[in-house]
Symmetry: C2
Subunit: 205 residues, 2 copies
């Protein structure tokens, strides 16, 4: 029942917003009494906090699994993490939207806890980038914090527009983002430019 209440309230919060959804709306949708609701949750706010906690903790646990895989390079780990977030859209898109829109309705202590978890996720990504720089996988002339904020913005925003059942597959989205993050969108001039040099050297060298 607990899971059922969580699931239905995520649907309602996503559709109507937290403020406009009453406990009455939630129990009407499921067909239970207020007593049942209060058996599991002290208040609507506690329910919202539970949605937030479930969401971020699951993400952190999945991040941990990827991080501890010693057979992956840092670049591959970055790829898998971006893939994780994007694949989450299909499974947890509504939670993600509720998570990102309604956190303002939590109280200060709740918000602090959630923000600590969010920060943990972000700092681990920064560490991954930093280690990748040391190993020579990534450029060393950019600020790690800005780069990670940029990557998270790019990827996290997808839940607002990306339709997993639309014409772009999850694979294509992950690959395109990874390609932009790793290689950028500028047309590669170096190859042509250096090929000329090679030819020049070939004839003058």
């Amino acid at each position: 029942m607990r899971g059922r209440i969580l699931k239905e309230s995520i649907d309602l919060f996503d559709k109507k917003g937290f403020s406009k959804t009453s406990i009455q709306d939630i129990i009407d949708t499921i067909g239970v009494t207020k007593g049942t609701f209060y058996y599991y949750f002290k208040s609507k706010q506690e329910l919202l906090m539970d949605i937030h906690l479930n969401y971020i903790k699951e993400l952190l646990a999945e991040q941990e699994v990827i991080f501890n895989d010693e057979y992956l390079s840092n670049k591959e780990k970055m790829n898998n993490l971006i893939s994780l977030i994007i694949k989450n859209i299909k499974i947890h898109g509504k939670s993600a939207r509720v998570f990102n829109r309604e956190f303002r309705h939590l109280d200060d202590n709740q918000l602090k806890l959630i923000n600590d978890y969010r920060k943990e996720f972000r700092i681990k990504l920064q560490k991954l980038l930093g280690e990748g720089i040391e190993k020579g996988e990534f450029r060393d002339d950019l600020r790690c914090d800005i780069v990670i904020f940029g990557i998270l913005g790019m990827v996290n925003r997808s839940y607002n527009w990306y339709d997993p059942d639309g014409e772009v597959s999850e694979e294509e989205l992950v690959n395109t983002y990874m390609d932009i993050i790793l290689n950028g969108i500028k047309k590669e001039e170096k190859t042509a430019h250096i090929n000329e040099k090679i030819i020049e050297n070939h004839f003058t060298g």
Copy 2:
């Protein structure tokens, strides 16, 4: 007075959220009567719609100026647009947050109008990218729509964490984002690789 009501309500909506801010809160902050409020706005929702319209229309007008500058390359226009969004954080950070969090409280017709404007902004960016591809400024092997969604996510998210008075200057943020978008974060192996080739050619050619 109209501008004053808009300004104070943006502050309140940003701090407390739209639902939890009453018209009473707004007039108390300014020190006017309800009559004054209703002289300028039919309802709290109309006020929210005005905030949204002002925000998106100003952004579109500024985008237009950049687009019509015939002395700029498409790459420079992209740079200026990213710069525009980031510099907007200092001036319109609160509007941006209200805009991005509270749009759910608009009715269907209002939402459709706002979404049409947002789409206009995005489609113009896609056009800029498409023209840049034709001119050979950008790679031609990525889907324009995904690239633009990615860029907008990266840049738009900044209002959530970026502090214009912090240690990262607006210039550094714009330059870092532009650098990632254009060149990516992968350590450039080609140069070294091709330099070897040049040397090889130099001795064997």
